[in-house]
């Protein structure tokens, strides 16, 4: 199984931009420890949510034929805390995409409030410069992952 950290896509323009939603709940156990009495979403998990949003956008641009791996966090700047009950909107845009890699820019907001700006680089790892080989099976884009996009990119099942 894959760990899915966003809830759904609300907008999806193939090869250009996507907007995903992540609902934050106190049922997420790490919030009990981060921090006791002051639950805030760890910033690394905000980056993970953006990596999934942007990573799926990059994957869809090549019809999920490439294995898209987060390769570099170019920028991650945070402006405010994320608390239980917040609904995050994650907007990712593709800045450049080539056969080997892609770079994206991203903004996280909560209502009108700016939460973070996160710019990332992804590698299409089968085309890595080092010439390393990976299994044929696409372990990045499994069916569970693709189901996130039902109704936005794929049509709803009848």
């Amino acid at each position: 199984m894959r760990w899915i950290w966003i809830d759904k896509f609300t907008e999806f323009e193939s090869g250009k931009r996507a907007v995903a939603v992540k609902n934050v709940t106190l049922a997420e156990e790490h919030l009990h420890d981060h921090f006791p009495g002051f639950p805030v979403m760890p910033e690394c998990l905000c980056i993970e949510a953006m990596a999934q949003t942007a990573g799926i956008l990059v994957g869809e641009a090549k019809n999920f034929q490439e294995k898209v791996i987060l390769a570099k966090i170019k920028k991650a700047v945070f402006f405010d805390y994320v608390k239980p009950g917040d609904t995050l909107s994650l907007e990712a845009k593709i800045e450049s995409i080539t056969a080997e890699a892609a770079s994206t820019t991203g903004k996280i907001t909560c209502g009108e409030k700016a939460i973070a700006e996160i710019d990332l680089m992804f590698s299409h790892i089968d085309r890595n410069i080092g010439g390393k080989e990976f299994p044929d099976e696409n372990f990045v884009f499994t069916d569970t992952f693709k189901s996130l996009m039902r109704g936005v990119v794929f049509s709803e099942p009848d």
Binding site: S96, M121, G131
Partner: protein
């Protein structure tokens, strides 16, 4: 648009400062990207994307950092050293590079030293001249 070499250098410097998280004064003309500035393979792609944006032209794969496909070819690389044929090939493919004394000891581990800030400035300069 014409730019002086100094203007090109400053723009390249800015790209490298942003891409590699450095201070301005670390990015000297002679600095090597991998050895001195700590660039890794994914950084090279990041740098290409940023240069395209900064200078407004496309950089075809292999033009700026063309060696990757040569490494697995025994005609070009033998026993960790670049062969005569390999040396001739990289000199042809990388006209903007100062090879210095690399030919005397063409150890492929030293290839990274060929990519200097200056070689990027040379590349951009020749690219801009050919686009005019």
């Amino acid at each position: 648009m014409t730019m002086s070499r100094d203007e090109i250098f400053r723009k390249v410097q800015e790209v490298l400062v942003d891409a590699l998280g450095l201070d301005d004064d670390e990015v000297t003309a002679q600095a090597t990207l991998m050895g001195d500035l700590g660039a890794e393979s994914i950084d090279f792609l990041d740098i290409v994307f940023r240069l395209e944006k900064a200078f407004g032209f496309k950089i075809p794969r292999e033009e700026l950092f063309p060696i990757e496909n040569m490494m697995s070819n025994p005609e070009f690389v033998n026993n960790g050293k670049m062969t005569e044929a390999g040396l001739a090939e990289i000199e042809k493919k990388m006209p903007h590079t100062d090879f210095g004394d690399f030919a005397n000891d063409p150890d492929i581990n030293k290839l990274g030293n060929l990519f200097t800030v200056n070689s990027i400035v040379n590349y951009v300069e020749s690219k801009m001249a050919s686009n005019v």
